[in-house]
């Protein structure tokens, strides 16, 4: 659409605009409503509220220290070891301390009911990488219970729900956020939302890979918007691959997960030659090794030609537990494989590593504040909490804990109460909160460009190209040559994104929405690849075949990326602050200089 044909935006004025309606967004709304009754809260949801994110899809559970014989320090140490010491320790400390409180809140105030032990107390199960059984769950549908109940709380507190509305960009004026430029997907009309505080909680961008688990709406919108607004991102090279995603060819079911509990229960992984290949990668833990190790092992087998014709390996639990036991313990997973004409309870099923969770994201403090006044970030959009690898059970814990913290902080900002520190005072709510149409016009023009364009590429074709490129060149195993090639190809894709074409009407036009999604995915992908190129070692989810070792002497550093000239990723690295705990045997006198002065822009 030509800029001259662009309809003028409808405007909405609110106290707090929460972008995203998953675990982080709705917990934020709940805390805000309780801390500041009467505040005007708006939830901006790209799809149906509570249904367009991944918290709802959580199977496994929620890590929290509840048992008197467990300890906060234990959960903390497990989280850091699991994150290969790249975590922001303040964020991790906040998580482990708040997680038990949030579980109690979910149970006693929100209405959740988690599985019980026979004597009626909350049951906690074992999960990979943890020294204590501390994963709270409801069967294998934990997320559904949490999101269902949280969504129902919205009916109680009465927030304004903007359903089928997507945020396009942050409006920043005079150095602070004044609101968001948005698009009403139903009407196809621009929307300008003025807000004293914006909370970004949209979810990550793992969908940039051809094999991926997340919900369709999760296209890294928050990360891309923050990047365009000039914020710094961290650890973007850290993208978790889950080892057991289902393969279903072209079907949209491809990438659906088989849960980690299968490996916990003794499932075997074999290649096409029938070999239990984990013996070559982790002979001690075998299939029960961590996600990063198992994913890499499967990937290596497949790449070496020992995969199945469809490009997977086989998971076999039927021969270990027997048909009846598999059906009894994993009914949901058996159902899922039957949907593909296979049956986990009677034989092996083909699986592949799949892109799952983004550890990297926007730099925040423990109260979800960012460097931009008026902007808070929570959940998968933020970075640092999980370091180089997320433990199963820490994901939904993060989204609800930090969603709650964002709500508390927003409430504090609204009431103008300083935290008593100069930081708190200087990073208060936006004093303006009323964006000017002029400041948002460019965002609308950009978003509307593809709609009805006379010529241009099909966004879905470009999207496929992006996903295949990322899988092939920046996936489970990376090296310099492939990453350099990926960065070049992404620059080209980024340019082609500005020349897409979406035929059809403005209302509920999926191809138009995909054109906008694509730009965000490509932005996140460029940050990921530039960061991956910088980190010349292997750590957690990031594996470089040209630098296969973990190098604590040089690389206990976080890779930071910010938009440089022409929007290109500009990289620097900063040392990880080992403020509470250091890795075993770490020499504290090692390199810890800041390379902030040597920032450079990637090609």
């Amino acid at each position: 659409m030509k800029p001259s044909d662009l309809p003028g935006p409808e405007t909405i004025q609110t106290d707090v605009a929460i972008v995203g309606s998953g675990g982080a967004g709705l917990m934020c709304a709940l805390h805000l409503a309780e801390r500041t009754p009467g505040s005007d809260v708006t939830v901006v949801s790209k799809g149906i509220v509570g249904k367009s994110g991944c918290t709802r899809m959580v199977q496994g559970g929620f890590n929290a220290v509840l048992d008197p014989s467990d300890s906060i320090e234990g959960h903390f140490a497990d989280t850091l070891a699991g994150g290969y010491w790249l975590n922001d320790q303040d964020l991790a400390w906040a998580l482990v301390n708040d997680a038990p409180k949030v579980i109690v809140e979910l149970e006693t105030r929100v209405g959740c009911f988690f599985d019980r032990t026979p004597d009626g107390r909350i049951h906690q199960k074992a999960f990979a990488g943890q020294t204590f059984d501390r994963t709270v769950h409801r069967g294998d549908l934990t997320g559904l219970e949490i999101m269902g109940r949280l969504r129902d709380q919205m009916f109680r507190i009465g927030v304004r729900e903007l359903e089928d509305v997507r945020a396009l960009d942050l409006v920043v004026e005079e150095g602070e956020v004044s609101g968001i430029a948005a698009l009403d997907i139903r009407s196809g009309r621009p929307l300008l939302i003025g807000a004293k505080v914006v909370v970004m909680a949209t979810g990550g961008a793992a969908t940039m890979y051809s094999l991926a688990t997340p919900a369709r709406e999760k296209t890294g919108d928050g990360i891309a918007m923050c990047y365009r607004a000039g914020l710094e991102l961290r650890d973007m090279e850290m993208l978790q691959f889950h080892p057991t995603g289902l393969l279903a060819g072209d079907s949209r079911l491809t990438g659906a997960l088989l849960e980690e509990g299968l490996r916990g229960a003794g499932a075997l992984l074999v290649n096409a030659l029938g070999e239990r290949f984990m013996v070559r990668y982790d002979p001690e833990r075998m299939e029960r090794s961590t996600r990063d190790v198992v994913s890499r092992a499967s990937y290596t087998e497949i790449a070496a030609g020992r995969g199945t014709p469809a490009g997977g390996v086989l998971i076999d639990i039927a021969s270990v537990l027997g048909t009846e036991e598999v059906r009894r313990r994993f009914p949901g997973m058996v159902d899922r494989t039957r949907q593909l004409g296979q049956d986990l309870s009677t034989g092996p099923v083909e699986v592949s590593p799949v892109a799952h969770f983004q550890m990297g994201g926007v730099v925040t403090d423990v109260d979800c504040r960012t460097e931009l006044p008026g902007l808070l970030v929570a959940g998968e959009d933020s970075g640092g909490m999980h370091g180089a690898n997320r433990l199963g059970g820490n994901g939904v814990a993060e989204s609800t804990v930090f969603g709650a913290r964002a709500g508390d902080t927003a409430s504090e900002m609204l009431s103008g109460i300083s935290t008593g520190t100069s930081k708190g005072a200087s990073r208060g709510a936006s004093t303006k909160g009323r964006p000017s149409i002029a400041a948002a016009r460019g965002f609308f023009a950009k978003a509307f460009r593809a709609l009805g364009a006379d010529e241009g590429e099909h966004p879905m074709a470009l999207s496929k190209e992006l996903k295949e490129l990322m899988w092939r060149r920046a996936g489970v195993v990376r090296d310099r040559a492939n990453l350099v090639e990926a960065l070049d190809a992404l620059e080209d894709l980024s340019e082609r994104c500005t020349r897409t074409r979406a035929p059809g009407p403005p209302q509920l036009n999926p191809t138009w929405q995909e054109a906008i999604d694509l730009e965000n995915q490509v932005t996140a992908a460029r940050c990921l690849v530039a960061s991956a190129l910088e980190r010349e070692e292997s750590r957690g989810a990031h594996y470089r075949s040209d630098f296969p070792e973990t190098d604590n002497a040089r690389w206990l550093r976080s890779v930071r990326v910010r938009a440089g000239e022409g929007g290109r990723p500009q990289i620097r690295t900063v040392p990880v602050e080992l403020s509470r705990l250091a890795p075993p045997g770490h020499d504290a006198t090692g390199d810890s200089g800041d390379s902030g002065g040597q920032a450079r822009t990637s090609p």
Binding site: K51, S52, T108, G148, F155, S251, A310, G341, N509, P510
Partner: protein, 246 residues
């Protein structure tokens, strides 16, 4: 014909004629899609959008039967597109939006009337403010045995859409909302159980149910709202169940 990866186990490829109800014309559009065994209705829609009409509007998110947003009618039956296979050997598939809800565009409906009724039963618990620790409730207690099988509702609206009474414009809370009310009334942690029972006993409540049972027959999560309504009718006479005695 372009070559594509087939799902695991795919054998023969056939062609499927798909009739899709379009909102602009009010008529069905006809598409021919290549089919394969195990193909889901969602795959059919994605194929149409990719190969024939990029502007076709339909909704989906999670694709693993958790979000419930891909509900539609396939050959007249309300289903989740992500879980519903194209019948093997089928030559024709008719797709239409879910009944009983306003159509926004093509196969996309506005779930607002469904959620308005859901909200009308006060779907959140009202806990005792003095309680500060998770309740001790045995998993084999009658209370949990009543609640647990009724809990995993994904609010897809299929039961609402399939119910001949809860159609838009008629005054009935519908199966999903009543099932939610049952879950809360059975929950000993809730302090508003008597009021809830009174609410669902009003004119638009349990007495509107004609005991046809389409709700339970259609539920993709195998929940039994029909049974929930029966319990509610019983509790209206006996009062809410005592803790541990449902």
């Amino acid at each position: 014909m372009r070559s594509r990866t087939r799902p695991v186990g795919a054998r023969a490829v056939g062609s499927l004629e798909v009739l899709v109800r379009r909102s602009e014309s009010g008529k069905d559009d006809r598409f021919v899609v290549e089919s394969h065994p195990g193909m889901k209705v969602l795959d059919v829609l994605v194929a149409i959008q990719r190969d024939h009409d990029p502007s076709l509007a339909f909704r989906y998110s999670c694709r693993v039967a958790m979000c419930g947003t891909c509900a539609l009618r396939a050959n007249g039956t309300s289903v989740l597109a992500c879980q519903s296979s194209v019948p093997s050997g089928a030559k024709e598939l008719r797709l239409a939006p879910l009944a009983g809800l306003p159509v926004l565009r093509d196969l996309v409906v506005d779930p607002a009337p469904f959620f308005a009724r859901w909200a009308a039963v006060t779907p959140y618990p009202v806990p005792d403010a003095a309680v500060s620790a998770p309740a001790v409730v045995r998993p084999d207690s009658p209370e949990r045995r009543t609640i647990d099988p009724a809990l995993d509702c994904i609010t897809c609206g299929i039961c609402y859409s399939s119910c001949s009474v809860s159609d838009e414009g008629r005054d009935f809370l519908g199966p999903a909302a009543l099932n939610r009310a049952m879950v809360l009334i059975a929950d000993s942690r809730d302090t508003m159980r008597t009021e809830r029972l009174a609410r669902i006993g009003r004119l638009d409540g349990i007495d509107r149910c004609h005991y046809i049972g389409a709700c339970s027959a259609c539920c993709p999560k195998r929940i039994d709202p029909f049974d929930a309504i029966r319990r509610l009718r019983r509790w209206r006479v006996t009062g809410p169940p005592a803790a541990g005695a449902t």
